[in-house]
Symmetry: C2
Subunit: 337 residues, 2 copies
DNA sequence: ACTTGGCACTCAGGGTGGGGGAGTGCCAGG
DNA sequence: CCTGGCACTCCCCCACCCTGAGTGCCAAGT
């Protein structure tokens, strides 16, 4: 269907268009790449590529521009992931190494990704449900009120205040704390709900109403409120790629946590680098953007996703390289802590 | 210097320009507002206003546009703060009431402000140093490592992991926790540093090295790292006001926590609504934007600031009204929790 | 069967050149 | 001090042309 030269032509078109942002014509193609054929030949190839839907011309007698389909083919078969040089790797490492805190890791990661790719960076907080309980803490705030703090092995801390049905004493709190930690320590968060169901039996009858309140908030925190937050950075980079009027829509989409979650979710759970191009994104308003994402986590398991978002006219190999490299190091940092 | 009518003319110019985004001429002024004089008279007034630097014409034979100085006069003497209707107040209240968490309060506030004003909203987290310790918690993470959690009376939770010089046992942790809470509970964070200095005497000698490590991290958290975070929302609203090329600079400034902090800091510590217009902002890149900010907090004390940022061509009375109303309700929520 | 040079054709973009119109400054008279 | 009148100034819009890059097609060459 498409012989080698036609593929080479497509690759050249994508590369040129990405770097110049102008429709690329047959003549400039043969000049810049050393395809040793004449422009006329290229024109014939282009006609075929256009017929197949890989490229289009914005108007008659203009050069060609890749379609989403064209980029897709490019990403799948014509380009690899651009590996990072040792120097770059070291830079990433030192940039992330200074972080002292999960929040800080995430913030640094966003900045780093945005800077490396000159695109918008998107980082999802490590998922709560896939990690395990490291500690549960209960702190009295008043006689009918406690603060529940949950610490996970990925360093995340969740807090909720709990309004109690009745007054609670220090002893009861100590008991509750002991029971919770004894039963939950080290458990996967996904399993916590079922474990908690059995807990009321373990506390003294008088305290059960209060305990029940605490337990239900705890379960809520884990299950019902799986608000895995997404942090965005480098939005200023959007102004470089001229979306003209679409910029507004893109910015709006980026402010919606829900939209971002869906966007990251669409790429599934795979650890590998995934690319979604233009109209492949279900989210309206991001139809002219592409996302390069990957899973990351401590060790093997995928705890969350991160990636970059930019115009479909994007340097995919570099973006994929950056995303992969950063994910790798973030995983490393999480595993260490 | 400026008689009443000239001031009225300036007010009218500002109002018209804000609502139409087009230079306003003498004729349309007399039409839209009922100044019962002729256009020629207005022209004379405008000439004076221009000479004094309150308005300019973009080019000969165009209408007039307010200068930063003009807006300043408008804000200081010609307009009040637009009060909110009871219905609007109720809407604010219910929107904020659902929050369950300090993070959530801040996030909702940002969204609310952005939506009410159709500008970029900026909310600073309640300052650590001005609030008081509610509880300190220490959680073992390993034999040479603990997690230090600090809970303030504004509901903020700070966490840091501490690497210890030597192994630590459960007893030691319990002791440390007791000492810390006994001495720090209820203290203003600003005072904590001095109190902590005396603490080592209170722990058993064998544990002093570990205790010292914990204490120093604690003090660091409070003092050295006064990273009062700022949350931004509604950036999409910037696309409505056409900054043409300046948009990039504005977006960049908004991503720099440091810049935002400085910006909010410039308005001082006053609780009242403050306006900084265009070139009054020291931050480069925000020379063509205005900020409307106010302090907020639980009760009287100002814990942090919040506000909106937009083009100098902004509806100041409404923005000021929104900022004031929102700050009031946020303060209320913080006081309750 | 593919490649190539030639050729006519098509348009987007940029520069030019008037009007039209909104707005101004000034002046003389109320 | 206000007002109507008047001449003047430019911005903006539109219509026009023209150039140049790029194309599709065809006939000839390999």
């Amino acid at each position: 269907m498409l012989d080698d030269r036609k593929l080479a032509v497509l690759r050249a078109i994508v590369e040129d268009y990405v770097s110049t942002n102008e429709p690329v014509g047959s003549k400039s193609l043969v000049d810049r790449h050393n395809l040793d054929v004449s422009p006329a030949t290229i024109r014939n190839d282009m006609a075929v590529l256009e017929e197949q839907g890989y490229i289009v011309q914005p108007h008659t007698s203009a050069g060609r521009v890749p379609t989403d389909l064209g980029y897709r083919l490019f990403v799948d078969r014509l380009s690899g992931v651009k590996p990072f040089s040792p120097a770059e790797r070291r830079a990433i490492e030192t940039f992330l190494a200074g972080a002292y805190d999960l929040d800080d890791v995430v913030m640094r990661t966003v900045r780093l990704l945005a800077q490396l790719t000159r695109q918008v960076a998107v980082v999802q907080y490590p998922s709560l449900t896939r990690s395990a309980v490291r500690h549960v803490e209960i702190v009295p705030l008043g006689d009918r009120r406690v603060l529940l703090v949950l610490i996970t092995d990925t360093g995340r801390v969740e807090q909720r205040t709990v309004e109690l049905p009745g007054p609670i004493g220090d002893d009861a709190i100590t008991q509750l704390r002991a029971v919770l930690n004894a039963c939950l320590d080290g458990r996967k968060l996904a399993d916590v709900a079922s474990v908690v169901a059995d807990l009321p039996e373990r506390v003294s009858p008088a305290e059960r109403p209060n305990a029940a309140a605490v337990f239900s908030v705890l379960v809520e925190t884990l299950v019902e409120r799986h608000d895995e937050r997404v942090v965005v950075g480098g939005a200023a980079n959007l102004t470089a790629a001229d979306f003209s009027r679409g910029l507004h829509e893109v910015l709006e989409a980026l402010e919606e946590q829900v939209v971002l979650m869906r966007l990251l979710g669409e790429s599934g759970d795979q650890a590998a680098v995934t690319v979604r191009i233009g109209s492949e994104n279900e989210v309206h308003g991001l139809r002219s953007t592409s996302m390069v994402t990957t899973g990351y986590g401590a060790g093997e398991q995928v705890l969350a996703r991160l990636g970059v978002l930019g115009p479909t006219r994007m340097d995919y190999p570099t973006a994929m390289g950056a995303v992969r490299a950063v994910a790798r190091y973030v995983g490393q940092i999480l595993a260490e802590s």
